[in-house]
Amino acid sequence: MKRILIAIVVLAGVGGLIALLSFHPKAKPVAAARTKSQVVAQASASPTAAASASPASGMYKDGSYTGSAVGGIYGTVQVQAVISGGKISTINFLRMPSGGNSTQVTVMAQPQLLQEAVQAQTAQVDTVSGATQTSEGFEQSLSSALNQAQA
């Protein structure tokens, strides 16, 4: 169940137009939007989509996926998403209404992050990772404190 939601927020000349795109790797509908000056793309996915086992892979399979052409208020738009390293790297606008100056959006700020409340675990562990426990600075600080105490 690989479902990618791509929200493209477009700042259009007259008011903003927000299109929510539902995008499936095996060519499913893609909606669209008109660009004028700036395109900001964001992607998110449901937590269950992360099932891969290889260390280098991400949420999605690498490759190029083309969405279907969708009619919008300003004309027809068709986009292509390029997945690289398991993450969306680029969105190409294959078709877009005239007047737009951007035909490719490189997805820079595109991290996909999940959230949860931390919860105490009781399972047995071999080792624990935590911020550095250092004794030397403590020892030095203590010894300087003790030196002062002697004065």
């Binding site: 260390p55 991290p111 949860e116 105490a120 080792t127 624990v128 911020a131 004794s135 030397e136 030095q140």
Partner: protein
């Protein structure tokens, strides 16, 4: 077998899935290595190469290990956009943020060259694993709760992977944002998982210094997964972390 010693100013634990005289000997060699690293790089020991460089009293050519580490420091600074630096705000050279991870990585090399491929080397909360634990399973690594240090809040299963955590607990606010010189405090701890401890450790330190931007930066790094804990008890993590759960 498992041995813990206090070296480099912190508890260091080396665990092998194997037992016996040969295992004991190689673990001794690993601790000898850590002692040598400490003699060369400690900023607490006046006779170390780094202390003498800072005091301007070093009268000999830099040892190869120091040149290696300093060169890596330049590369790591570039790779983190300046968020990882080997100089303190006061200009003093302090490579300890890199040296620990590098020393662990070299120690793993000592073990592997002698044929020990199932190990866990942990120094001050950062670790590199190889192969499996004595039960033949991936090493079980708990993430300490920065808000409740006696508590583990996440369990990771790692094999041939490294885990490092940067945070404010244990020593107080000890990581500075090199760009502002101020202590980084936006988040309580950053835990990073990836193939090798050297880069994993640097990435955790840099991400912590980035504060709120750290998690997003980590998500863009190939091969790294992250678990970031905020002061509010909320964790932000990369979806790829699931491969270690």
């Amino acid at each position: 077998m498992k041995r813990t010693e206090l070296v480099m100013g912190m508890p260091v634990t080396v665990e092998l899935a194997a037992d016996g005289g040969e295992a004991e000997a190689v673990v001794t060699a690993v601790f000898d290595w850590f002692v040598e690293v400490d003699r060369t790089f400690s900023t607490y020991k006046a006779y170390s190469v780094i202390s003498r460089m800072n005091a301007g009293t070093l009268r000999r050519r830099l040892p190869a290990a120091v040149r290696t580490v300093l060169a890596a420091g330049v590369a790591m600074s570039e790779a983190t956009g300046g968020y990882f630096e080997m100089r303190r705000p006061d200009g003093q050279l302090d490579p300890s943020g890199y040296v620990k991870g590098w020393a662990i990585d070299e120690a793993a090399g000592i073990l592997e060259r002698r044929g020990f491929r199932d190990y866990c080397i942990e120094a001050g909360g950062d670790l590199q694993t190889g192969g499996h634990n004595a039960e033949g399973k991936p090493w079980r690594v708990g993430i300490r709760n920065p808000l409740q240090p006696g508590e583990v809040v996440k369990l990771l299963h790692v094999s041939n992977a490294a885990v490092a955590t940067s945070g404010t607990y244990e020593r107080g606010e000890h990581i500075y944002d090199p760009k502002t010189g101020r202590a980084a405090t936006d988040i309580a701890s950053v835990t990073v998982v990836g193939p090798r401890i050297t880069w994993v450790d640097v990435a955790a330190t840099a991400a912590f210094a980035m504060g709120g931007e750290g998690a997003e930066w980590l998500a863009r790094q190939n091969g790294l997964e992250a678990y970031v804990i905020g002061h509010d008890g909320q964790a932000t993590f990369t979806p790829g972390l699931s491969q270690y759960l």
